[in-house]
Every structure is written in structure tokens, then in C-alpha cells.
């Protein structure tokens, strides 16, 4: 995916997100507020549920056997209960008015992937500069080597590319070290 495609994808995604957000955020906010939470908690939980939905949609076998509203509500409810348990806050009975569907498998998958992403982010942060920004510019922002060479001050794209690969090898080493520490 090049930068032009990335911007088109981001625009299409933003429109879809806006529609889902306007229709369903209020319902989730009410659930959280009426169960020992704040508006900030509601924002965090709703956005995490949207990521669960996004990952499910990108998994290649996306099938929803209920309304989108029901799915989002079920995920938010489960995520909020987990968060309350972790911070030793409790509600006697979760007050909610919507029906729910089982979402435990999707949430477990999301938590596992989230763990891996956090390892990668930690490894990226450990690289320092210019490696962190260089790798993010190429692999995340999808900029091309000419643009990167210009903005980072390299004399030509070939030098920038060589530096990129040196940084990438350091990142691989850091990532696999962190991965082994966390999975042992």
C-alpha cells in the first residue's frame, strides 16, 4: 500500500467510523456512566471495542450473526467488567438494557494481539532516533525513500535505505528479545 492508497483508505474508514460512532456511542456511554464509570472511560472502552470490530473485519472470515449494535454493546460490556475487576471496583449488578452475545473469543484474540503490538511499540521506542522515526516513516506512514531521504537529510535515497535496514535489524533483535522475555 503506498501513501496515496493509505490516504484513500483512511478517508473511507473515517466515514464508516463516524457513522458507527454517531449511532452507538451514546448507548455505550450510558452503560459505562450507569456502572461506576466516567465519560473518559466510555470513550476508552468504545474505542477499544471499535478496534476489536476492526480486527474482526480484517480477519478474513468476518461474519456477524447479530446487529452491529448488539455486538458493540456486548464487547463494551465485557471490556468494562474486566476493567472494573482489574481496578478492584465492582458493581453489584451490571445495569444495562440491551441484549448481549458471546464475545469472549474475540476479546481474547484482541488482548493477545494487543500484547504483541505493545512489544513491537516498546522495541521501536527503545531504538531511539533517528531509527524510530525512520522506520515509522517507511513502514507505518508508507512514505517512499526519496521523500524520507529529503526530510531526514540524507544525500541520496540509497543511503537512507541502508540506514533503514540497519535500524530494521536492530528492531528485529530488540523485538525478539522482548518476545522471549514475555513468553518465558
Amino acid at each position: 500500500m503506498n501513501q496515496g492508497c493509505l490516504k484513500d483508505w483512511q478517508r473511507t474508514t473515517a466515514r464508516a467510523v463516524e457513522t458507527i460512532y454517531s449511532k452507538h456511542f451514546g448507548m455505550v456511554q450510558s452503560l459505562i456512566i450507569n456502572n461506576n464509570g466516567s465519560s473518559d472511560d466510555a470513550r476508552d472502552i468504545f474505542q477499544e471495542a471499535m478496534i476489536v470490530l476492526y480486527e474482526k473485519a480484517n480477519s478474513g472470515n468476518f461474519e456477524l450473526h447479530c446487529q452491529l449494535k448488539t455486538y458493540l454493546y456486548s464487547v463494551c460490556r465485557r471490556l468494562w467488567l474486566k476493567r472494573l475487576n482489574q481496578s478492584h471496583r465492582f458493581v453489584l449488578e451490571m445495569n444495562g438494557v440491551e441484549e448481549t452475545v458471546p464475545v469472549e473469543e474475540d476479546i481474547e484474540g484482541h488482548e493477545k494481539r494487543n500484547g504483541e503490538f505493545q512489544l513491537m511499540e516498546k522495541a521501536l521506542a527503545s531504538l531511539g532516533e533517528p531509527c524510530k522515526s525512520l522506520l515509522e516513516a517507511f513502514y507505518i506512514q508508507k512514505k517512499n525513500m526519496n521523500e524520507i531521504a529529503g526530510s531526514f537529510g540524507y544525500t541520496n535515497p540509497e543511503n537512507a535505505k541502508n540506514q533503514k535496514y540497519k535500524c530494521l535489524m536492530r528492531l528485529r533483535k530488540l523485538f525478539f528479545t522482548e518476545y522471549k522475555i514475555n513468553t518465558v
Partner: protein
Amino acid sequence: MDRIQLLDAVERFLRDEMSPDEKYAFEHLRKTNPEVDQIVVEHTVFLNELDKLGQIKNFKATLHDVHNDLSEKGIIKPEVPKAVIRHLWKRHKRVMGVAASIAGITTLIVASMVNYYSRQSQHRPTTAVEQKI
């Protein structure tokens, strides 16, 4: 082929940037050299992880922007828990009751005093000075 050249070849192969001859030579190298094949597989997995991280970071930025945009437009608004208002009322209703009673009594006293003194001034005989004026 050194490590950097190999990683570059893997990335160009995955992005379909190789010429047909180059692609053929690379696939032949993979079939005849297990170590190269292993590096290709590992690097492909690693690049997929990096790519997915990028997608999630970009998606999170979109969520953040949409939330701020909808808040500014008033389409989503922060909610105050009804339970907090009820809780505050329950906790302070005695104090509020006492305060209201004091305010009520004070108002009655002041009103009575105003009424009394205004009547007093109506019945009082006028002085010589006041008569001259």
C-alpha cells in the same frame, strides 16, 4: 549476498517490485538454500506484524479524530451520571434543609422588622423642623 541485500530483496519480492528474471532467480535461491528460505519466511512474518501495527496506529488516530470532531459538532456529549445527583442530594439534604429553614426564618424576621418600623414611622408625631419643611 549480505544481510542488508537479502532483506532488501525480500521486501522488493513481497512488494512485487522485481523484474520477472530477478523474481525467478530469487525463487530459485530460496529453493536451493534453506537458510535463505528461513530468512524470507521470518522476515515476511516480521513485516506483517509491523504492517498490522501501522494499521492499528492509523485506525486509533482516526478514532481519536472522529471523537473530537463529533464532540465539537455536539453530536456526542459527555453525560453526567444521574446517580451522582441523587447521591449528592441524599448526602446533603439535611444540611440543605437546615440552610433553607434559616433562610426562611431570616426572611420572615427581616420582613416583620421592615413592616414594624415602617408602621412606627407612620404613627410618630412630626417634629417642629419637619413641620417647617
